[in-house]
Amino acid sequence: MTDATSQSGPMLAADGTPLKKSLARALRMQKTRALMLIAPLLVFVLVSFIFPIGKMLFKSVENDIVVETLPLTVAELQNWDAESGALPDEALYAAFVTDMVVAIEAKRHTRLGTRLNYEYTGMSSLFRKSGRKIKKLDPATDGPFKEQLIDIDKKWGDVTTWAVIKTHSVKITNGYFLNAVDMQRTPEGAQTQPEDKRILIKLFQRTLFMSLMITVSCILLGYPVAWLLANLPARTANILMILVLLPFWTSLLVRTSAWKVMLQQQGVINEVLVWIGLVADDARLVMINNQFGTIVAMTHILLPFMILPMYSVMQTIQPTYLRAAKSMGATNWTAFWRVYFPLSVPGIGAGSILVFILAIGYYITPEIVGGTKGVFISNRIAYHISSSLNWGLAAALGTILLGVVLLLYWCYDKIVGIDNVKLG
């Protein structure tokens, strides 16, 4: 037997294997077992969360449709200088027809048209219309094609058409991101959109501003409620707690629709105000389908997310702190402001993060009560996903939104410190 104390090498376990190895093996068993326990959840999260998000992030830069549909054309386009103002030569037209015949066979040319239509209006119909006629051409025998194509549609004789195809023929594009910040990818580089098309930056600003307003209103309304919850006798506090949680158990749509009933011009509030005489019948307040309506409804819906973290923090603030402050000569207000309030800040922080992040990506409520002036960026994303089918732009907008949230989270961590946040 080896004497463990006399040897000079690494410590050995009883069976002679190095102790480190033996320890790692012993721990590996435990780690594997622990991993097995969380494996179902891990797989679920990967499949349903991480993977789709990754896919979405990639979609915002992915642009291989042009290269894949028109490989020969793209290669020929490299030799053509768009800024010269001259049309490309016959070789390119031939390559284009060859590509198109293959694409039409596979029914991919309309998809390409749709993609290019995001960048240059008219491309979609150009591809669809030309497709029917190019189908009849044989790339081997029917050349030359330049004149024929210009005959089919005079847009093929327009430099811009080819310039657009060339600009968007890269595999990884920043075009969607440029679009998302009201710019566009042009042959001359990134340029701002014409004024009438610049809406997304404004929408981002509005989303941030309104989320901020909602967070602030939630703090103002939620703080006293949380304080009551934490300081009332248990029985009364429980009843109040049910009232706070009640909205959670009601459908989001029902709550939002209820606000519609309350706020509309023929709604409850206006009727009451007119009946009292505070508001003239012909000057009813406009409280819905604008920013006001969205802020009111979303504040109501997100309020529990503010109250609960605040409450759980306030519950841990011992009443003796206030007593101690008063015994030292502080008035009620001083005791609150110098002692209670600073101790409740972690709750406000937690609630604010929660409400702000939820608000910034909210969709249903602004969709129903927001009208045109009160919609959020998320409504625009939904539009691009389900109506305009411009998923790349939707993905870019979503990525920017995610980035903004992460950035704010980082700022918050720097300023307040995420360790100071208590959710319960």
């Binding site: 011992q318 015994s327 030292m328 502080a330 008035t331 101790l343």
Partner: protein, 367 residues
């Protein structure tokens, strides 16, 4: 007990009652007055009303009936922050978001004291509790004993004339507690502040106080200096609560020349000193004897002592003392303590011995 409205009374409770629910009284007819500079402890089991009394004095509870006076003026309607009473809380209540210096600065800031005056006072208060180097720390970075000192310094930094302490040593370990007991008493006496101290620990009460008020059932059962309290308990609650105590039950047969003859429940007759007013011929009584006043060594039993037969049940060697459990007059829980000395016999369970005590150490109290 309570000196009636004497002129030197600094703190005075005058017929104070307190009820929380309007049905039961937590504090029943409390009369208490203490002069300036006294260290008074309110001692009692939990629920005896001692903390309620302290909170009424601090202003966090209002008296249902009666008057509380501070320096001659009634403070019933003065809010806590205007009473100028320093207070040390059970869990110290140091503000966790402030440094030690900021904690101490708080009472001075609310008094709108200038910065230089504040700094000087904070320094002096920290030095007083030997924590001068800790001004920049946060409460969470200090040990329990250090937090305790800071809490004390904070209660004293604005120089109140009266300081209240609500079980301030409850969270400390035994050794630290004994050290702090000594320090708090010294500090209070050196500064000449009046102190009202609440505890349920009788050792603490006996070692620290000028006088102890023993609370039970919303009343002061006895208010006396520690030695009087221990040696001359006025009723069986106090006798039981303060120190260890043996109880024998019986009926008073007669009282002659200040000596009561009590027939114990097993027929034994013993001589006792009648203390409680209820001790009258024919009345039931509880006889209280301190364990250390009982002797079993024949040559130590004093002249005139009453002797009794006893059987040893248990003999425990505790180092400085021997603790012996005996069966005496039908009571199997009769405990005696004997100082360890070379000539003391060590007993074995089952042994039959004779024990003895002086009649004046045997006090007949209420049943």
């Amino acid at each position: 007990m309570a000196d009636s409205a004497s002129n030197d009374a600094f703190v005075e409770f005058d017929r104070v009652q307190k009820s929380y629910d309007g049905e039961t009284l937590v504090v029943k007819d409390l009369n208490l007055s203490l002069p300036k500079g006294e260290f008074l402890t309110m001692l009692g089991p939990s629920g005896s009303g001692k903390t309620t009394c302290l909170m009424m004095l601090a202003g966090f509870e209002t008296a249902t009936h009666g008057d509380i006076r501070l320096g001659g003026t009634s403070i019933n309607n003065i809010p806590p922050h205007k009473r100028g009473i320093g207070m040390v809380f059970q869990n110290y209540a140091l503000f966790p978001h402030m440094t030690i210096a900021e904690n101490l600065s708080f009472p001075l800031e609310v008094r709108k004291m200038g910065k230089s005056a504040r700094e000087e006072k904070i320094k002096r208060a920290l030095d007083m509790v030997e924590m001068g180097a800790f001004g920049g720390r946060r409460p969470a970075q200090l040990s329990g004993g250090q937090q305790q000192r800071i809490a004390l310094a904070r209660a004293l930094v604005f120089e109140p004339e009266l300081v209240l302490m609500d079980e301030p040593l409850g969270a400390l370990d035994k050794q630290l507690r004994e050290k702090m007991q000594f320090e708090i008493t010294n500090l209070a006496h050196n500064l000449g502040i009046t102190t009202v101290y609440v505890t349920h620990d009788q050792t603490e009460a006996l070692t620290m106080s000028d006088r102890v008020a023993v609370f039970d059932d919303g009343r002061i059962q006895q208010l006396d200096p520690p030695d009087t309290l221990y040696e001359n308990p006025q009723n069986s609650f106090v006798a039981q609560f303060i120190g260890e105590n043996n109880t024998l039950e019986g009926v008073v047969k007669e009282i002659n020349n200040g000596i009561a003859i009590v027939e114990l429940d097993d027929g034994e007759l013993i001589d006792c000193k009648p203390v409680h007013e209820s001790v009258k011929p024919g009345a039931r009584t509880r006889v209280s004897i301190r364990p250390e006043r009982v002797e079993y060594n024949k040559d130590r039993i004093q002249e005139g002592a009453h002797t009794l037969k006893a059987e040893v049940k248990e003999f425990i060697y505790m180092g400085d003392i021997f603790r012996t459990r005996l069966s005496v007059a039908g009571n199997d829980e009769f405990v005696i303590k004997t100082r360890n000395a070379p000539d003391v016999e060590r007993l074995t369970p089952g042994q039959q011995i004779e024990i003895g005590w002086l009649p004046e150490d045997c006090r007949a109290l209420d049943a």
